[in-house]
Symmetry: C2
Subunit: 158 residues, 2 copies
């Protein structure tokens, strides 16, 4: 299995759970915040998927891409949020699949955010950890808005 295929598999085991959670969020809780200064449910989902997108673009292009450079998604409804997560996930699947072995070992100058250069592989692993972290938080949001059923934190049968 190529590094790209192995990473794609290991990342999708978490991303597909995020997709499942977002698909299950009730419409009316798009702007739910558990405390005043929190990111809203919508903001936390957007932060997670747009950060991932910018990390993947960084590895793909071999230079730092910030998430604000990728445009500000227009999300007014839960349905918009679901569509965005779906579309970005499909794009990211294609992007990761297309990464060469070289892209995993090549150093990228990400010193503006990490203070140093990192290999493509290291950047992708930070992206994945960051996604697991925030997805964990979204599980608490889910229970706080009254969802009794939530998926396992990771897909086993992928």
């Amino acid at each position: 299995m190529s590094k790209a295929q192995a990473f794609l598999h290991n990342w999708l085991r978490h991303r597909l759970v995020l997709v499942e959670l977002v698909n299950a969020f009730p419409e009316e809780h798009l702007d739910y915040k558990p405390y005043e200064k929190a990111m809203s449910l919508k903001e936390l989902v957007l932060h997670t998927v747009m950060s991932a997108d910018s990390f993947i673009e960084t590895v793909k292009r071999g230079e730092l891409v910030r998430s604000y450079e990728l445009g500000k998604p227009q999300v007014e409804t839960m349905e918009d949020l679901r569509k965005l997560v779906h579309d970005v996930t499909e794009k990211n699947k294609t992007d990761i699949t297309g990464l060469s072995e070289e892209a995993f070992v090549k150093l990228v100058d990400v010193s503006k955010i990490f203070g140093t250069s990192l290999s493509g592989e290291a950047i992708l692993h930070i992206m994945r950890d960051h996604e697991i972290h925030h997805k964990g938080q979204l599980f608490v949001y889910a229970r706080l808005i009254g969802m009794e059923e939530v998926p396992l934190f990771v897909k086993r049968d992928l």
Copy 2:
């Protein structure tokens, strides 16, 4: 760097943040729950570190070890919780450091919980993901109990 040293480093980047969080939790919130059926702060910390301990013991012994087999920790105060997290972390550092290259590739029968056998390396990676997931949730708990300052989700300078 050996596989054991590399894994220890990658895991400590998260565990040390968990230690920092637990050290910062105010005494009075040991039994805090954000919703009725939630794990309390104490239960969530214990679940995270005792699961990790059981996964590491599983890889060390080459056979499935459940966390209840490791005894039930007596934790009555936040100070007890801090001491337990500290002590288990020190034990786990020694355990991981002592893992042979063979332990990373050897298959362990964990079918009772994962439905299949997995390599030591795969088990350790599930443990690490599980810890990042629950640590993310503890960040929400931290903010909900009024903590304004929380650490970054991962240690950069390790």
